[in-house]
């Protein structure tokens, strides 16, 4: 790992071989390539193994509660849009308990980069199935095999109106760092689902399992390349799961981010304004409504 201004003194407690190391390395790399400084970045996480990430990165961060990082990140961004806001959470956080927030953050087009550490399992609680666990998988809460169908996170985000949807994989830090950089640059909600092998609690979706299936789609406008501006082509790729799993930018289009239309931000970031800037005259005008 290169020495970066984003290095923290805290040592990760992740298992040796955990995919979260690769995701963290990629994220720092992305910040570096965007020339960001630690005080300009806010990483909000949920609760889970991967959600410990802000503790291991020297930047503003907030380890919130299970499933809620997008909502906290929304508040940060709307109060001070000058900050670069990244939400990092697990598949349990993002697609399970906090699924409602994903739908609405995408629909609103909040300018938040949402990185999901998708290990297809509840790791911190030691191996229960998650919303992305494949049907049939035996886990401690599905001893006879999961009978539910897994969620398709990219398709879900697309249906909710997300204007940037991508997938990466933890064991390709360079490729993933590139996707993170693009996702951060994208103005608006960007979902980056990162496949993350869990060496301790997911014995099915291993490094080997992913290696055999993933392939990169390119949207470089060349012949035969994926047209990431085509919603239906994107939806088709987003639903591809099984023998072949696409990586890369699946969908992207321009859409005005939520905060740019907010009248309340016309006078600049909220924390930069003096508390009394309504002024005595402005206050008297308010009272006039009650005469």
């Amino acid at each position: 790992m290169p020495d970066t201004p984003f290095d923290s003194k805290q040592r990760p407690v992740w298992c040796p071989g955990c995919g979260d190391y690769g995701i963290m390395a990629a994220l720092k790399q992305a910040f570096m390539s965007l020339d960001l400084k630690p005080h300009q970045v806010v990483i909000v996480s949920g609760i889970g193994c991967g959600s410990k990430l802000p503790d291991y990165v020297h930047a503003y961060g907030y380890m919130s509660i299970h499933g809620r990082p997008l909502a906290v990140a929304t508040g940060v961004k709307l109060a001070n849009p000058e900050l670069t806001v990244v939400a990092v959470d697990g598949d349990g956080d993002a697609y399970g308990i906090g699924g409602n927030h994903l739908i609405h953050t995408a629909r609103r087009n909040m300018d938040i980069t949402h990185i999901v550490q998708n290990n297809q399992v509840y790791a911190l609680t030691k191996g229960q199935f998650s919303p992305t666990t494949d049907t049939g998988a035996r886990t401690s809460t599905s001893p006879f095999g999961v009978i539910e169908a897994p969620i398709m996170p990219l398709a879900l985000a697309l249906a909710a109106g997300a204007a940037f949807v991508a997938r990466g994989v933890a064991f390709d830090p360079k490729g993933t760092a590139g996707l993170m950089t693009e996702a951060i640059r994208h103005p608006g909600y960007a979902l980056l689902d990162v496949l993350q092998p869990c060496v301790s609690f997911n014995k099915i979706n291993t490094y080997e399992w992913y290696r055999q299936r993933v392939y990169k789609v390119s949207d470089d406008q060349r012949a035969n390349s994926h047209d990431s501006g085509d919603f239906y082509a994107a939806m088709k790729l987003a639903r591809e799961w099984g023998d072949r799993i696409p990586l890369g930018v699946i969908y992207r289009r321009t859409r005005e981010p939520y905060h740019s239309a907010l009248p309340g931000l016309a006078r600049g970031p909220l924390p930069a304004r003096p508390l009394d800037d309504i002024g005595a005259d402005g206050f008297e005008r308010l009272l006039d409504e009650y005469v």
Binding site: G75, L270, D276
Partner: protein, 661 residues
């Protein structure tokens, strides 16, 4: 609980026919708040307008209030409506006097009704000699109380002549206002103002309906009616020294919003829930002119989380909700407590549990607010008692949240939040607004360069201090980079499970509450004669009614005072008056003496089933109230109901002895 006794003497004084020239100038520098002694009133008239939901009962009532205030009266307006837009019986009650009125009148003197159902529901509330105003087609019950004066007015015909049945509410209003002797011209201008944005034909038919009904009633029909408004001086332009002359009419929710905005609230995220919705709507309406970010969130969990996120950057942020929403916010309250983020949560209470009585009032969220999440964490609960106190709570909540870096829950309720009260404009005084950010280091610092950036671990977000308060950097501050965690953490915010650190951190967080108690939190306020031996223990919105009840009781030979809490948690008995410090229990519940030891009768008055404040009072002081007057039917308790409840309780305990606490 208390069936109204119609036999009881009315508190309204008949018109004294004082010539207008003798009317004293209104003195708007006087306190509009509950005082030691209730104001002397020359008249005090209450009326109720009732009809089906959708018939415009609420707009008729609020127009009446506005018109009364313009004419120099003090008005109080209270909606009593159902959780539907059409169908079901709604009322709006208006009380008018020449002196400040902070709660509703009981009984009412005039009932103006648009439906037979509305008439029947309200008749029990009508004062002896009061009037029922209704359409010719409505025949109230046959065995009507003989003292009731029935005024049949062709309400439907008048409305239809004026343009349509939609104006029936204005016809009923015009008739009622005529009966109590209110000028038609002031009423019409209030109607015009209310419908200013509507088509001219709408304005015309409403004004026309009111005018015709007013005329119909004013002469012979109104003659001799005892409950009439007396003369008042027109509203004066107040002393020139006053920054804002005149009077205003507003609700507790509005006053809270004004206080919050004046105090620098810049962010609200909320999810609609009656009766709190008007707070989000107010902020959304003013988002542009005041520069407020108002987010209608996907649910209450998101709303509270968004407020936390905004607060992390240093913005003053809040969320508003009612009980069901506060339930959803509980995990976030613990999160803000653990990570020491200022968070203002306003709970405008309604009847619980669960969906309960959505549009009605109750004070039954206190115990939820008292411990709004698992684990031990610092937080503050305050509950303003009047609309004016709502204004102060608006900025004070943010000061407390900033000073103690914790959640502050403000408990309003449907009654104080939604009822209209007349205040001197100067009661909402910009210059009196305090803005104290506590140990906040700033957040958004544009000119600072990266050199100011500190290495990991250099800034101690959770520095152990004597006060328990650690200097707080807003996200974006170059010298304050850190990442709070809801896990237990070190001084530099990094996660730990080390036992020594855990203990120190728990103590540090909880120490803030001792600091708050020592410096900023208030003990209860006594209203009335401090030596009175019956003490009414109240909190929140029952304050005005309790003060009037104390006056009723005292006039009756039962010397009573009111002990009102606005600051509900944390509380301690340190430095508190004797009444709070384990007030000695009397040998017998006598209402005419205070024991040499300061003992006296302690009566809790609350709008909930279990006496939630009594439980806390007992827990903190060891002194349980001797009995309680509790109401939980969703309707605000009236002065008379409190007085009756106290009398009954004293009577009962004299017979049965002192109840075992």
């Amino acid at each position: 609980m208390h069936t109204p006794h119609t036999s009881q003497a009315s508190h309204a004084l008949p018109n004294s026919h004082t010539p207008a020239s003798h009317v004293p100038e209104p003195d708007d520098s006087m306190s509009f708040e509950c005082g030691a002694c209730p104001p002397v009133r020359r008249f005090d008239v209450s009326m109720s307008i009732g009809g089906d939901a959708g018939q415009g009962v609420e707009s008729a009532g609020s127009i009446a209030c506005r018109a009364l205030v313009r004419a120099g009266h003090f008005a109080f307006g209270m909606a009593d409506y159902r959780s539907r837009i059409r169908g079901g019986t709604n009322f709006y009650q208006v009380r008018a006097s020449d002196a400040p009125v902070l709660c509703h009148g009981d009984p009412v003197h005039v009932i103006a009704t648009l439906t037979r159902d509305a008439a029947l529901t309200q008749l029990g509330n009508l004062a002896r000699g009061g009037a029922l105003v209704c359409d010719e087609s409505i025949s109230p019950e046959d065995n009507l109380r003989p003292d009731i004066r029935v005024l049949t007015v062709p309400i439907i015909k008048i409305a239809e002549n004026a343009g349509g049945k939609a104006s029936m509410n204005m016809a009923a209003l015009g008739a009622a206002m005529g009966l109590i002797g209110f000028s038609i011209d002031t009423l019409c201008s209030a109607i015009e103002q209310r419908f200013a944005r509507k088509a001219e034909s709408v304005v015309h038919s409403n004004v026309q309906a009111a005018r015709e009904a007013h005329e119909y009633v004013s002469g012979r029909l109104a003659a001799g009616f005892p409950f009439r408004l007396g003369p008042v001086a027109p509203p004066s332009p107040s002393p020139p020294s006053s920054p804002s002359p005149g009077r205003i009419l507003l609700s507790g929710n509005e006053a809270f919003c004004l206080g919050a905005a004046a105090g620098g609230c810049r962010f609200i995220a909320a999810y609609p829930m009656t009766p709190a919705t008007t707070i989000l709507e107010w902020m959304a309406a003013h988002a542009g002119d005041l520069g407020i970010v108002a987010v209608h969130a996907e649910d209450e969990i998101a709303a509270a989380c968004m407020a936390v996120g905004a607060s992390l950057t240093g913005a003053r942020a809040m969320t508003s909700t009612s009980g069901g929403g506060l339930c959803l916010m509980t995990e976030v309250c613990g999160m803000a407590g653990m990570t020491e983020v200022p968070l203002v949560v306003v709970d405008v209470q309604r009847g619980g549990p669960s969906t309960g009585l959505p549009t009605r009032t109750e004070q039954s969220d206190l115990l939820l607010a008292f411990h709004p999440s698992h684990g031990d964490f610092p937080h503050i609960v305050i509950a303003p008692g009047t609309v004016q106190q709502c204004f102060e709570a608006g900025y004070r909540a943010f000061n407390l949240a900033d000073q103690y870096q914790c959640p502050v829950i403000v408990l309003l309720d449907s009654h104080v939040g939604g009822s209209l009260v007349t205040l001197g404009r100067s009661c909402l005084n910009w210059n009196a607004v305090a803005r104290d950010r506590g140990e906040y280091l700033g957040g958004h610092i544009t000119e600072a360069d990266a050199d100011a950036e500190t290495a990991d671990g250099a800034y101690l977000r959770y520095a152990i201090t004597e006060s328990g308060i650690s200097p707080r950097a807003g996200f974006g501050h170059p010298g304050g980079v850190h990442a709070p965690s809801t896990d237990e953490h070190e001084e530099d915010a990094h996660i730990t499970e080390e036992s020594g650190v855990r203990v120190e951190m728990m103590r540090k967080r909880m120490r803030k509450m001792e600091t708050a108690l020592a410096n900023d939190l208030r003990g209860p306020t006594t209203y009335g004669d401090a030596s009175a031996n019956v003490t009414l223990l109240v909190w929140g919105s029952t304050l005005p009614a309790a003060c009037e009840a104390a006056a009723i009781l005292s006039a009756d030979g039962i010397r009573a005072k009111v002990l009102h809490y606005t600051d509900l948690w944390p509380i301690s008995d340190k430095g508190a008056p004797l009444t709070l410090r384990a007030m000695p229990k009397p040998q017998a519940l006598m209402d005419d003496s205070t024991g040499p030891d300061g003992s006296g009768v302690l009566v809790a008055v609350e709008q909930n089933y279990s006496g939630q404040m009594s439980l806390i009072h007992r827990m903190v002081t060891g002194r349980a109230p001797d009995f309680a007057v509790l109401k939980y039917d969703g309707r605000q308790i009236s002065p008379r109901e409190i007085a009756d409840g106290v009398r009954e309780g004293l009577h009962r305990s004299r017979k049965e002895g002192v109840p075992d606490a």
